[in-house]
């Protein structure tokens, strides 16, 4: 009997299975429409990417995937003028402040923004100047570790974090020692820096700060405008000077806006399905510039496999997808798909020379001495070594073969996208082994050339672009002198982090993507002694930066005159070639791939989002 039951079960299931196969096989034919049998729905836009947002809270979000979503839900006081990186148009403000119209004070320290009327939040509430004031105060006081709020804290208070401000007010060294009164004074200080004055909101800066408008402009998620009443109702800071510490530096998931959104932007949030990495948004019906043409947008950030994304684009399941640089040739000539390449974004990649390597038990520096089997800790503090390395990298081959032409050879630490700020006829490095040899011979009084050296270059798995960059550099150097030995080693990020932090890596391969469109945002991290990248160069590197660059970098940020700023940044740019603090590998370009039916795409080099969905529409002609 048992055998019979089994058999019947088998037959029944096979029949059902076959039926299902046949039925579902027919189903899509009924659903398809549009050109070439692919799906077309003008009301839904599907973007398929890889890698989801970390948080939707503007005070914490500091990665492109997060900013990309925040960009659709919220708005800023200003926006960049289309096609420009230094001119602005009003957005939630009605005028762009300038010294000429009196909205920026003559000393460059007070900015006034008249706030637009009749703007509706997604819940129907009307925007008030109080909302604007609250948005900045709340984000600044929240100041979570690793967040972007330093960008506003620096111009407003002259310190890097709100904890530093509290310490400064209390006159103590550690935040734990700050007393109740000083905490309240800190809250009050922040609230005094941003004030409502009638229909205006006024910012009081501690020092003139030329990129301030860039930091406020659209694309800057940290400066977007929140809804005060809704925020308080949803458990955010209550707006009082004495209570802010309760909301300060909360874990990401405990912040009020971690997974929710309430802005004035063209789209309102329907859902963030975190388990599927998918954001669903709907056009805001009361949007002040008129509702968006595309009613529903789905951003699916969970498709990590490129081939899957490619097929979805090909079949029209996706209107646009994220394309890594190495995959763009696969989309070339695909029917019904537009591929736009070589878009100049504000992004460059370098290899930092660690001028004072921590050589204790260090597997990357060989013997740790200049004996032909290693390098001494201060190997890269010799300018001749740095220049020799810069001449030993085959820039053109790398750009042609690895990033497939989507990059250019750098003029220094400021990328091509900001070429208004430097001389594009200035010097650049090229692949020149003779020059490299010449500098190697000069280094350490000829000792390096005579004895040779050995070091290991480390790249982070799975970034194979960087791996190839290491290998190209290895090839260049080893072909100069057989005594030069370079090894290339891949490492998981978690393994690399402690070694990088302890200063063990001889060279650190890393890229910088602009926070806002101003050269200060590049020169500071790259060459200021307190910048993020100089932190990887040891005490000697920081001293070198302080002696050579700090003054120039400070001059650039404290100068309001545009012509003078250009002169300063041109000089810094030239000096970064001359002194070679880093090996600048390439200025990276960007690309987009979408169906031909997507209309209205305009590239914005500083926009965190691949697409401004508000500007788009879908049509088959």
């Amino acid at each position: 009997m048992k055998g019979k039951v089994w058999l019947w079960l088998v037959i029944a299931l096979v029949v059902i299975g076959a039926g299902v196969l046949i039925w579902t096989g027919q189903a899509p034919k009924q659903e398809t429409g549009g050109a070439q049998g692919v799906k077309f729905d003008p009301n839904i836009f599907v973007f398929v990417g890889s890698g989801d947002a970390e948080t939707l809270d503007p005070s914490k979000a500091y990665d492109t995937a997060s900013s990309e979503i925040i960009f659709q839900y919220y708005e800023n006081l200003l926006a960049y003028k289309e096609g420009s990186l230094d001119e602005f148009v009003p957005m939630l403000a009605t005028e762009v402040p300038s010294v000429a119209n009196g909205l920026i004070s003559a000393d460059g320290k007070t900015y006034t923004f008249p706030i637009r009327k009749g703007v509706k939040f997604h819940n129907g509430a009307e925007l008030t100047p109080e909302d604007v004031e609250y948005s900045f105060e709340r984000n600044i006081l929240a100041d979570p570790t690793g967040g972007p709020m330093w960008m506003l804290i620096e111009p407003l208070f002259g310190v890097a974090t709100i904890k530093d401000l509290a310490c400064q007010i209390a006159g103590v060294d550690s935040f734990d020692q700050v007393n109740e009164a000083a905490l309240r004074a800190t809250g009050q200080r922040v609230m005094d820096a941003i004030e409502v004055d009638g229909d205006n909101v006024v910012f009081h800066l501690s020092t003139p700060y030329p990129p301030f408008l860039s930091i406020l402009a659209r694309n800057s998620s940290w400066s977007c405008i929140l809804n005060k009443e809704w925020m308080i109702a949803n458990g955010a800071w209550d707006g009082k000077a004495e209570t802010w510490t309760k909301w300060h530096d909360l874990p990401t998931e405990e912040q009020a806006l971690f997974e929710k959104a309430m802005g004035t932007g063209p789209y309102k949030q329907i859902e963030w399905d975190r388990s599927n990495s998918r954001h669903t948004m709907e056009a805001h019906a009361d949007y002040w510039r008129g509702p968006a043409a595309i009613k529903t947008v789905i951003v699916n950030n969970g498709v990590t496999e490129f081939n899957t994304r490619k097929l979805m684009l090909q079949k029209g399941e996706a209107d646009a997808i994220y394309v890594p640089v190495e995959n763009s040739p696969q989309l070339e000539g695909m029917e019904g798909v537009t591929l736009i390449r070589n878009l100049p974004r504000l992004n460059n990649v370098c290899a930092i020379f660690n001028q004072e390597i921590n050589a204790v038990d260090n597997e990357f520096v060989g013997s740790g001495k200049l004996d032909g089997n290693g390098i001494p800790p201060h190997f890269f503090s010799d300018i001749n070594i740095r220049k020799a390395f810069c001449y030993a990298f085959d820039y053109d081959s790398f750009i042609e073969q690895v990033v497939l032409g989507e990059a250019s050879v750098p003029y220094g630490v400021i990328p091509m996208g900001l070429s208004d700020f430097f001389d594009t006829n200035g010097p650049r490095y090229s692949y020149d082994l003779e020059k490299a040899e010449e500098y190697f011979k000069k280094a350490f009084g000829g000792e390096v050339w005579e004895k040779g050296f050995k070091l290991t270059l480390v790249w982070n798995i799975p970034n194979t672009t960087r791996k190839t960059a290491c290998e190209i550099l290895e090839h260049g150097i080893e072909s100069i002198n057989p005594k030069f030995q370079v090894e290339v080693q891949g490492m998981e990020w978690a393994t690399m982090l402690p070694r990088r932090r302890e200063g063990r890596l001889p060279m650190v391969f890393i890229g910088w993507l602009a926070d806002y469109a101003d050269p200060h945002n590049f020169v500071y991290p790259y060459v200021h002694s307190k910048g993020d990248f100089m932190a990887f160069t040891g005490e000697l590197g920081r001293k070198f930066a302080a002696a050579e660059f700090d003054e120039l970098v400070n001059a650039g940020i404290n100068e309001s005159d545009q012509a003078k700023r250009i002169a300063i940044y041109s000089e810094i740019q030239k000096k970064t070639i001359e002194l070679a603090p880093h090996l600048m590998l390439y200025d990276a370009y960007d690309r987009r791939a979408h169906r031909d039916w997507v209309k209205g795409f305009v590239f914005d080099p500083i926009c965190p989002a691949n697409y401004d969905f508000y500007a788009l529409s879908k049509s088959l002609d």
Binding site: G3, G17, I44, A160, T280, E305, K315, L497
Partner: protein, 343 residues
């Protein structure tokens, strides 16, 4: 039998302790500066981050024993911690991902077991004849095929060429329908939920999405089932009682159905249970290729980002499943094979 089941279940906490203690012991070999990498998604994202503050805030420099005790204390309060890589609590992550995996498993198990047994029996009955060779060659080919290659091939043909079986779990329009308040979620398995909501259109859409990954999984596991069934069947067919049955003059059909098959299926049950466990644990590559976010993807993302609470949480969950499924299989044994007694 009841006392046997209770005794086995009482053993569960011991297994769980062993699994989690082992994981924590392994993690203790990593320093706080390695573990803090979870909070910085990539080397280029370490900007203005005070990593020391993060280490202090999340007590990453505590000794492993202290970490383990804290974790156990939280566990007893039903709190598995926060998963940094999936942006939600570990409990929530498992609760949301498991239905997808379960759905995939349920759909895959049926064709795998039935198809595998069917082909295995056929193969054994045509021992060393062309049909046997053909199925064996197919089995070896499929078994040695890397899953990502087969997965991509199925996707290319089923979606790229034919356009029938798209990746993901639902089409864009169906996703929007599911989000509406009128659609109630009962199980998190879209095929079942759509039927319970009487939405046949969504049911077909969900089914269309699940066929390609199920087919890929089936191809990969068919071979396995086929080979086990075949060898077990061959073994049984050479037994004395089969010869006796034939000598009695029974028809070949009766011999196979009544005498051979039942006995041949005992080892298959063992294998099927281990396959079921493998599938329930999530299948990373197939889930990646078909963009079908289940437990496999969750675990792999968590592991590569050193998301300790998530890795431990999933391991705990998996250990529970393992113990329960093994128990069910043991009970099944005693039903299928009267010689097996549970004591």
């Amino acid at each position: 039998m009841l006392s046997y089941i209770v005794r086995r279940l009482l053993f569960l906490p011991v297994v769980l302790f062993g699994v989690t203690a082992l994981i924590f012991a392994l993690i203790s070999t990593l320093g706080p500066w390695t573990r803090v990498a979870t909070f910085v998604p990539s080397p280029d994202a370490e900007r203005h981050v005070d990593l020391e503050a993060i280490i202090r805030k999340y007590n990453l420099d505590d000794p492993p024993l202290k970490m383990y005790l804290r974790w156990v204390k939280n566990l007893l309060q039903g709190n598995l911690g926060w998963s940094q890589s999936s942006h939600m609590t570990v409990t929530e992550a498992i609760a949301r991902r498991f239905p997808a995996t379960l759905e995939l498993t349920l759909f895959a198990v049926i064709p795998v077991i039935i198809g595998g047994i069917f082909l295995g029996v056929i193969s054994a009955l045509h021992h060393n004849k062309p049909l046997d060779h053909a199925t064996r060659i197919m089995a070896i080919t499929l078994w040695s095929m890397p899953d990502f290659v087969l997965g991509l091939a199925v996707l290319m043909v089923g979606f790229g060429v034919l356009g029938w079986f798209p990746p993901g779990r639902l089409s864009a329009w169906a996703e929007l329908e599911v989000l509406k308040e009128s659609f109630r979620s009962f199980t998190g398995m879209y095929t079942l939920d759509s039927l319970l909501n009487l939405r046949l259109d969504i049911f077909w859409d969900a089914l269309r999405h699940i066929i390609a990954p199920v087919f890929t999984l089936a191809c990969l596991w068919w071979a396995f089932m086929l080979r086990i069934t075949r060898s077990s069947m061959l073994d049984v067919l050479n037994q004395d009682y089969v010869r006796t049955a034939r000598a009695k003059g029974l028809s070949e059909k009766t011999v196979i159905k009544k005498h051979a098959l039942g006995n041949a299926l005992i080892p298959v049950t063992t294998v099927a249970s281990s396959m079921l466990l493998g599938l329930l644990g999530g299948v990373m590559i197939v889930e990646t290729v078909f963009n079908y976010p289940g437990l496999g993807l969750l675990t792999s993302t968590a592991a590569t980002r050193l998301d300790v609470p998530c890795v431990v949480g999933v391991a705990l969950f998996y250990a529970v499943i393992l113990v329960v499924v093994n128990l069910v299989v043991d009970v099944l044994y005693s039903i299928i094979d009267p010689r097996v007694r549970l004591e």
